[in-house]
Symmetry: C2
Subunit: 381 residues, 2 copies
Amino acid sequence: MKSPICEMLGIEFPLLAFSHCRDVVVEVSKAGGMGVLGAAGMSAEKLEQELNWIDAHIGGRPYGVDLIVPAKFASKGQTTKPGESVSKVPEEHRAFVRNLLEKHGIDPSTIVTEERLSRGTRLGDNMGDQGAGALLDVCFAHPIRLIANALGTPPPYMTERAKREGVPVAALVGAKEHAIKQVEADVDILVVAGGEAGGHCGDVSTLVLVPEIVQAVKPIRDVPILAAGGIVTGRQMAACMAMGADGAWTGSVWLTTTEAETSPVVKEKYLAASSRDTIRSKARTGKYSRQLRSAWTDAWEAEGAPAPLPMPYQSIITEPVMGRVTRLAEGGHEGAKQLASYFVGQGVGMMNETLGAGQVVQAFKEDFLGAWERMTGLFEE
Amino acid sequence: MKSPICEMLGIEFPLLAFSHCRDVVVEVSKAGGMGVLGAAGMSAEKLEQELNWIDAHIGGRPYGVDLIVPAKFASKGQTTKPGESVSKVPEEHRAFVRNLLEKHGIDPSTIVTEERLSRGTRLGDNMGDQGAGALLDVCFAHPIRLIANALGTPPPYMTERAKREGVPVAALVGAKEHAIKQVEADVDILVVAGGEAGGHCGDVSTLVLVPEIVQAVKPIRDVPILAAGGIVTGRQMAACMAMGADGAWTGSVWLTTTEAETSPVVKEKYLAASSRDTIRSKARTGKYSRQLRSAWTDAWEAEGAPAPLPMPYQSIITEPVMGRVTRLAEGGHEGAKQLASYFVGQGVGMMNETLGAGQVVQAFKEDFLGAWERMTGLFEE
């Protein structure tokens, strides 16, 4: 496909796949798209292992890594000792979670503990510049072809280093004002994510945000734009490119692939869900993110629930507990099944079968072509 | 353009324009699209006048009318005497509005009155089958080419009569389940409206809902689908048609045209607004609708505000008061300017200049063609 982003990244088809699963990254890149490993929650050691595995299996195809390197944390030079931030989770939040677990027939005494909560601090630790710096060191020791920042403007130590290494920097934005800031911060690729996206998101829809940002940004600099948010089919990708995007950035659609490490319980929920079964809430990470609705999200959204803690502290209580809940659900615990949830976008309504990641890329290509033929048909005699 | 919807409606370009303004209806139809008069809040006498005017000016071009004919109200055979439903507005809501007006330097004593509130009951009266029946009588005495129901499934007395008159029936849907019900209720055209739409809307985005409903409905019956929600440019219309829609249904974009009767104060707010300046709230009509954020919507969304009344009672207090507030704002009242608001979709961020309605149709056509050329360019050697 003739698109500047394909040349920049060395790929055939401008479909980028965000995934925490190295197998998905490899399969997407091998099928002509580009896999991007979501590594924000990983230790440097784990990331090193994952990238070694990818290098050994991807056959020289290009791939990327996605981190969370918030400018404001890094610029403060803030560092935390592992586990230190557990003390930032108030008793009110712990009691609420204990109560919610009990209501669903789960004994909280071995779950809401200092030891378990301290496992939830990895993301927080990585968000200091020490953690993020260590991850960047690992990334640049591997032949990555893209580095993305999932939240906020990439700090100069990230963009400058990437420039020296010859690696394009992508950044996610959910509002026009942020897009303009990112372009001014020397970002190479904008990922424009609508409010229907899984994970962190704004509240302006993809169909509105993509043309609005194309219009606002392209006159400043001809920066490639990847559309994101709700995209799980080739026709949606084509739609976004008709509006001026240069390609698509996807996440949710890979969660139900055969390669994905998604919990079988959550995968089953995704396959059954309609587009109305997601919610945009602060209760998972402290910032608005979209996820599957469940008894867990309902409880946090109900009147009287504690206000979510600011990022990264909310994750310290939600992630380890939800990890344990998911394991219990996999073992058949009914209460845990009701609570189980994970990030996903509104596109989940069209994720109705499990395919291999390479097959999904192929389906995107065919569906994209179908969309173009449909449009061409409108102009035929 | 070769599209089944163009043949069905007798138009050249499948762009439908919902507007309360007869001038917009006429100009859009004359430019090759189709104007649809929003008449839900009109008396039968007023509608008769408007349609006479349209017939005299539209030069035989096709046009439509949009009503609210809820199945459940009509099936109860509920009728109300004009003004009767004012008693359904509790003192709590009246006191809240009086207080809000006072806070903004407006004397509420001549505004929150029985007499003024009774002016807000027209919509409620029309929602009984007597009111809706009278409006349908007027519609079918004119050469309308489309009748639309803006909320819920059209009742059999509407669909059966339209069938006898040879007029296609369109219905708005905001969820896949509703779309399937509408197709089963014999609707001729589905208007699939995403959550970014102005006015009443669901919460699933256009980019997700359109392909989801195309996929779910077309195997049942090949009903034409118009995409709605956030569409203010030809490239967005093209995007939706690439995903399988047969055309677009638009509303917000006409509110800033030269012909629109939009208050100059609100028009100015629209032109300045970004896509983040709208809110989806129950506080205007009792059902979720999207509108411009203002001090009025902020107050109703704040903690401690009264819960919105069910439709149509909430409108009885909001519409007459907001009418008065808008007049005061037009006279330069600062507090009233802060409160002023009206329905609009997230596309408002790209509504940055005032054009004639015919020029807007032309701009849509050119931008649509540009989108198609952009896609074609992707496949060139």
